[in-house]
Point group: C2
Chain length 202, copies 2
């Protein structure tokens, strides 16, 4: 199931409706099995409308990645008005594997699209931009924490890069192995890392 509200406007917005059809086709057939016809099968308007908006599958999928990443930006961001350690905890709370069935389908689509960045520069550009965006967001929280005196004086950028990377690994583990619950272990160890390296004792 995709995150709530992702396709909310689909009723009256053609792009959202195309994005929703693409999402369902990706879940059903995977990236490698995707075709315009299979997207059209999930789409309640005409196939020619797809070609009216996009030159082909590749252009449509780059737009889909852009759409999904735009939503991830929003999902990942928590209000900046709480103490820094609470902000960090709610950020990683969002990756709580307690409801894997609900979110892993969506994460799986994202993992498959991300792997396309190995071959495709357009994907790589979008993945890099999103990575940068989340790293900057986390670095800002870490800077706040240092200023507040609740965090140790770490390198905010390097720590943020590490945190995003561990998050990437959690998503990859949850969707590509038979032991997705080991993602819990990774998050628990990350928490201990934060306690030891980042949070001040008092």
């Amino acid at each position: 199931m995709p995150p709530e509200n992702l396709f909310d406007e689909s009723a009256d917005d053609t792009r959202s409706a195309i994005m929703e059809a693409t999402y369902h086709a990706l879940v059903e057939h995977g990236y490698a099995g995707l075709s315009i016809q299979r997207i059209a099968d999930e789409f309640d308007k005409s196939k020619s409308l797809l070609y009216h908006h996009y030159d082909g599958k590749d252009e449509l999928l780059v737009d889909f990645l852009e759409f999904v990443l735009g939503d991830l930006h929003q999902q990942a961001m928590v209000p900046r008005d709480a103490p820094a350690d609470e902000q960090l905890r709610s950020f990683f709370g969002g990756t709580d594997p307690a409801e894997p069935e609900r979110s892993d389908e969506f994460v799986g689509v994202f993992v498959e699209l991300r792997a396309q960045a190995v071959q495709c520069d357009d994907y790589q550009r979008l993945i890099t931009r999103t990575d940068e965006y989340i790293r900057e967001y986390l670095a800002a929280i870490i800077e706040d924490g240092i200023e507040e005196g609740s965090f140790r004086e770490v390198d905010p950028d390097r720590t943020a890069t590490f945190l995003v990377s561990v998050l990437d690994a959690v998503l990859l583990r949850r969707t590509t192995t038979d032991d997705p619950e080991l993602a819990w272990d990774v998050l628990a160890e990350l928490d201990d890392y934060l306690e030891t390296r980042l949070y001040r004792d008092d």
Copy 2:
């Protein structure tokens, strides 16, 4: 470029020759662009020989993944006769991004295949087995270190799972973003994590 010796026996071994042709076709066209014809184009024997050994592309690729993972097992393993901290350092030394051009082509192929595990149970089974293998290997090193007295009394399994996950993230970052050198930051932070959480001071 693939790791040295990966296709050494290709001269007189049909399976290795098919694996080498598959590797080059994957680097050239990516997973999504792969076909038996494109593998045959890289193969100096007849296309019918491919069909003699494999029912089709999917069966061939599962065997390719098995071949690559078997090699990764060997590559990743360092001799177990050194002190535990040296063993751990040489394990992660193997992911040194100093020569990215040489190894990233190979890592990219692996990242693309891993993402197929989102959709395909055969891939998921192989990825899980490799993950398990490397986690057990690292947990054994950590147990040695605790016994030697050079490591703190951490949970070996949980720590090993965390380490493998950070390694996954490094490989993903190197091949799917425009900032592969940030992988250095992740490894540097991992080193500080090990100093703080695992290695004893003295």
